[in-house]
């Protein structure tokens, strides 16, 4: 079982996406390191797939059993183990079916069989050169991004404490609580498989860079780390605080928005006055006061700035829909809709990246998320909709970032709790370890990176 070391993965990502940080990252606890003086803009976007994505059906093994692909097993064995979850190895012909970055509606989709996502899910793949692998047929956009050198696959990454092989697995330290969602999420967030109580890796980076204390980003209200996916430990530092926002319209305090209404100003002054009271010796109240004050400051900033961010008008998605609009189930050739949540999150990230750059920030790290990947059951009905949403989201986001001329500055990567069992529990899969992740945007383009690591092997 070969897995890429988690910290190497982070290091690779950061060294590429966050150009020039080099050595300090290797020791995030080195508080004496000088705050770097950046003169450019870079952003990382972590797309977290909650629940443990079944990457075996996202990046599908389609080779023969000869071992020529270095996996040593092929589609035949995969199918024997997966049973009714088996994705066929048939080539759905990306070049013809996604010409010009456009898809046909309904039966015009290359993965269409009978109007159900269950059939679409297993119809076929877009082969990735001679790798013996292919992207699931419901992910044409992903395949196109790969073909365009804008997307790389990191094969079979999982949490590790130390170099681990099949031979030494009984004697080395393994990450605690493998297969437990929350602890594996935490391990990915801390970037430290056997220290689940540490602050998040991006939070520690923000600490080190003096976010909130006059360092990188010039003490801006926006800080450095922003989540559109709720509180996320990856972004939480020991001394720095991330910003948590909702996708979409900016929320404002009712009755406090109007800068020319004396009553609104009175309410706002009272709000600030109350938050300044009595933090005294009570840490919970002091923290809560800071949260309230921060929420108002953020709201004030965004009331002014958000209307001036790009609206991506005129740009369209693969079906000709508004760029961040949601194609309906009929268009997709499915029986059920996909969620639009990630579209909106990524739209907000694109707007916020543009705003951050305009306001003179140098580094931003974002977290967005999708849920629903823990498919112990009903996988045939649900997983295709998730993969479809994921593929469309990445395409839409990359279009938006390119339209801003920020294609070299923003890099998105995926993470997920863990991979899933190759075996099938009847109508779903269970928790496992390594999984495949994706890198989209600046990093892949600059490096021409296509694959890192090796696809999982030894399926049984």
């Amino acid at each position: 079982m070969s897995k890429m070391d988690r910290r190497s993965f982070l290091r690779a990502l950061l060294a590429s996406g966050m150009g020039g940080i080099g050595a300090p990252l290797l020791n995030l606890s080195n508080a004496n390191a000088a705050t770097p003086a950046f003169d450019d803009y870079k952003a990382l976007v972590c797309l977290y797939l909650f629940g443990g994505n079944d990457a075996f059906n996202m990046v599908v093994p389609i080779g023969d059993e000869s071992g020529s692909t270095a996996i040593g097993q092929g589609h035949q064995t995969y199918g024997d183990i997966r049973g009714n979850l088996t994705v066929a190895a048939d080539d759905l012909d990306l070049a013809t079916n996604f010409a010009g970055g456009l898809l046909g509606s309904g039966s015009g989709n290359p993965y269409y069989v009978d109007g159900t996502q269950q059939s679409a899910y297993v119809k076929g793949v877009y082969p990735l050169g001679t790798t013996g692998l292919g992207f699931n047929g419901v992910m044409p956009e992903l395949a196109q991004l790969y073909s365009d050198n804008r997307l790389a696959v990191i094969n079979n990454v999982g949490t590790l404490v130390e170099p681990t092989t099949k031979a030494n697995i009984g004697s080395i330290d393994r990450p605690p609580f493998l297969f437990a969602h929350n602890h594996q999420q935490r391990a990915l967030q801390t970037g430290w498989a056997d220290n689940l109580s540490a602050a998040g890796w991006a939070g520690r980076l923000a600490d080190l860079w003096g976010i909130g204390r006059g360092g990188v980003n010039n003490n801006h209200t926006l800080g450095m780390n922003i989540s559109y996916a709720g509180s996320n430990r990856m972004l939480i530092g020991d001394t720095s605080t991330p910003v948590n926002l909702n996708a979409g319209d900016i929320l404002t305090y009712a009755g406090m928005e109007d800068g020319s209404s004396s009553e609104d100003l009175q309410r706002k002054a009272l709000f600030r006055g109350m938050n300044g009271q009595n933090a005294g010796s009570d840490p919970l109240r002091g923290l809560y006061n800071n949260m309230l004050t921060g929420a108002l400051s953020m709201s004030d900033l965004l009331i002014t700035e958000w209307p001036n961010t790009p609206d991506f008008a005129g740009l369209t998605g693969p079906y000709g829909e508004a760029l961040f609009g949601r194609p309906d189930s009929t268009t997709l050739g499915f029986t059920a809709n996909i969620s639009s949540s990630l579209f909106y999150q990524l739209e907000s990230v694109a707007k916020m990246a543009s705003l951050g750059k305009r306001l003179g920030l140098n580094r931003q790290i974002f977290v967005v998320s999708m849920g629903g990947f823990d498919n112990h059951s009903v996988q045939l009905e649900r997983h295709p909709r998730l993969l479809r949403q994921l593929s469309l989201s990445l395409w839409k986001f990359q279009r938006a970032i390119d339209s801003l001329g920020m294609g070299n500055e923003v890099t998105l990567f995926t993470q997920s709790d863990f991979g899933r069992t190759m075996s099938n529990n009847g109508d779903g899969t269970d928790h496992a370890w390594g999984t495949d992740n994706l890198i989209v945007g600046g990093c892949g383009q600059q490096w021409g990176l296509r694959f890192a690591g090796r696809y999982a092997s030894g399926w049984r």
Partner: protein, 642 residues
């Protein structure tokens, strides 16, 4: 009209007679209070043991004493009692009905012509997408208005440990299952934890949520093996947790390392136990669909899909060939016997009710009761709840000033507390629905309709089995990180949620407030235009606050607020308006902050309020009161429960 506690104090002799005739809490043998409880202490206690203090509840606690009130609540007849031993005392009590019964009634009222029994044996047999809103309305009603406040509050705490959610389809369209599931939690809130484990494991809701419904033994022909989902979370989240604990909740260590409670092998084995269970009346084994099966009955066992081999779980062997139910019980017995259950569950219940960071001694004392209720019984949740609430760490006022004591209120409980103070009631007469749209002939009454998302939290609607927040959430703050302190409820209180929560408070104080509504229309006219597409249909009532304010202002309560702009000052240099604000703040300090308002905070608020003016006397009085309540409820003084 309810009375303020200050007025009540003066009238106490007269009122005692009334309460003597109708003892609150439903006990037939009224316990005479032996411990004297101040009003402030009663409010503080109710923040830990109810959905919020009301003046009636404060009086109950004072009458009964803390222990007497807990005992009365535990003894109170519930919809789950085997035999009804006495009527519930308070008029119009709704606690004679279960969540499921109310959910069904509400569905039948809002959609009067819908065929809820298309299959005569199964309620909602086709599934309906509005179902989750009916369940939620029943939940608000029980939580806001139930006399069995302690039972409902403990059920809510349990719902954050034994998590299920509408996020898992079809529990949204079949949300009668959630009502039924909540009934299981409420029924066992003072029962035995082992019985709760059994009922949850067999419930259709949990079966769907964690996918052991329809689970099958290993099948070589299809290359399938049992689903591990429920087996894992049952141990990780519902009973023993991931690593071994001492009875006081501190981790046991081996060479400095945590000791895992179970291995992957235990999961695989336990998953085999969880095979053969499916919804009753399902059209075929394992079907997972909104229009098949009964979601309100326990799952039934089907022989053919069960793995009958012997299993080894946590080092104990379950013999081969037990019946499905015996197999399950044997596994649950093994888990229940684990030493972790008491500290693991005790800590979380303390966190949900009293304080985020209980001392290990506090956890230890409660866990000891969990392990032995004094009669040698393990798992007596009534005894555990009482031990949590009666503990010195919960009761002694000396803890109020301790830095690590207390807990953030979560949005749902903060909102409910304010609504209960403001005498929330249904807006009666809004229009129901049929398949063609709004149906004005369907008058809906007595329904607490609130399904807006602006709280950022709704019961039984967390995103995952890990609840709305983690019991181990450490906020981004150096004091918390350096001291290893947690603040679970803050995990969901992001800036947008703080803002939308504040706006929900504002809505409740204006758009839903009876006096304000009646300044521009009538309640009947409003209800006549309202229908179920409005996400929130309820009324609040500031009449008490207006009365307190006006009595201090001009000595009457006729609604003219005559002296509100009088410049004349008294011997202290206070205008009538300032004196009215003082009376208002006394009331709000007691009822919202349990008398903990500091002088600096009070003077900041008082000074600001004096400077609020509005067109009419009436508008100005309401403005001042609403500004004050919103400022207090959204401030750390209220949102941090000490």
């Amino acid at each position: 009209m309810k009375l303020s506690p200050l007025l009540l104090l003066a009238l106490l002799p007269a009122l005692n007679g009334c309460f003597g005739e109708a003892p609150p809490g439903g006990s037939q043998n009224q316990t005479i209070a032996t411990d004297s409880v101040s009003e402030a202490a009663a409010v503080r206690f109710l923040s830990q043991s109810s959905f919020g203090a009301t003046e009636e509840a404060v009086d109950e606690v004072i009458d009964y004493g803390i222990e007497g009130w807990i005992d009365a609540q535990i003894a109170m007849t519930s919809p789950y009692s085997d035999t009804v031993t006495g009527a519930i005392a308070t008029p119009n009590a709704i606690t004679t009905k279960s969540h499921l019964e109310r959910t069904i009634e509400i569905a039948q009222m809002v959609q009067q012509d819908h065929d809820w029994y298309d299959d005569p044996d199964i309620f909602n047999s086709d599934g309906h997408w509005l179902m989750e809103y009916y369940q939620l309305a029943a939940w608000w009603e029980h939580s806001l208005k139930g006399d069995d406040q302690l039972r409902q509050r403990v059920a809510y705490a349990l719902s954050q440990i034994f998590v299920v959610s509408t996020a898992e389809m079809p529990l949204d369209d079949r949300a009668e299952s959630l009502a039924n599931y909540y009934d299981i939690l409420a029924e066992h809130a003072f029962g035995n934890f082992r019985d709760l484990m059994g009922a949850v494991s067999r419930s259709a809701t949990m079966g769907i949520y964690l996918s052991h419904q329809g689970n099958e033994k290993e099948n070589p022909a299809t290359q399938t093996r049992p689903d591990e989902n429920f087996a894992r979370e049952l141990m990780q989240l519902f009973t023993i947790g991931l690593y071994e604990l001492n009875v006081d909740g501190t981790p046991r260590l081996s060479s400095g390392n945590l000791i895992p409670t179970y291995s992957q092998e235990d999961i695989v084995e336990l998953a085999k136990v969880m095979t053969g269970w499916d919804l009753q009346l399902n059209s075929y084994y394992g079907r997972n669909s909104a229009n098949s099966g009964d979601y309100t009955l326990p799952m039934e066992f089907t022989d053919a899909y069960h793995e009958y081999s012997a299993k080894t779980v946590l080092g104990e062997t379950i013999p081969a060939n037990l019946s499905g139910s015996d197999d399950l019980d044997a596994a649950l017995d093994i888990i229940f016997a684990h030493a972790n259950v008491a500290p693991f569950i005790s800590r979380q219940l303390i966190q949900r009710l009293v304080t985020s960071n209980p001392s290990s001694a506090y956890i230890g004392r409660v866990a000891a009761v969990f392990n032995d209720n004094g009669s040698g019984v393990k798992g007596d949740l009534g005894a555990v709840v009482k031990a949590i609430l009666m503990d010195d760490e919960a009761r002694s006022a000396s803890y109020i000033s301790q830095p690590s004591f207390g807990k953030p209120r979560e949005p749902v409980l903060a909102f409910s507390a304010m609504l209960r103070l403001l005498d929330i009631s249904p807006l009666d007469g809004w229009s129901g629905y049929d398949e063609n749209g709004v149906q004005p002939n369907f008058d809906v009454t007595g329904v607490y309709w609130f399904n807006d998302t602006e709280l950022g939290q709704m019961p039984l609607r967390s995103r995952s089995v890990f609840n709305f927040y983690s019991p181990d959430f450490i906020p981004s703050d150096s004091y918390f990180t350096s001291n290893g302190l947690v603040a679970p409820e803050l995990e969901i209180q992001t800036p947008p949620n703080l803002i939308s929560f504040s706006n929900a408070i504002d809505d409740a104080l204006h758009d839903h407030e009876s006096n304000e509504i009646q300044s521009w229309t009538t309640l009947d006219a409003l209800a006549g235009n309202a229908n179920l597409w409005w996400g929130e249909l309820y009324l609040t009532d500031l009449s008490d606050e207006l009365t307190i304010f006006e009595l201090a202002l001009d000595g009457d309560s006729n609604g003219d607020y005559l002296a509100i702009n009088d410049a004349a000052v008294d011997g202290n240099g206070d205008t009538a308006k300032a004196r009215a604000i003082d009376a208002l703040l006394d009331h709000l300090d007691l009822m919202l902050l349990a008398g903990q308002m500091e002088s600096g905070y009070r003077s900041e608020l008082r000074t600001a309020l004096i400077n609020f003016n509005d067109g009419s006397n009436n508008d100005e009085a309401r403005l001042i009161i609403t500004v004050a309540i919103r400022a207090i409820v959204t401030s750390s003084a209220f949102m941090i429960q000490k």
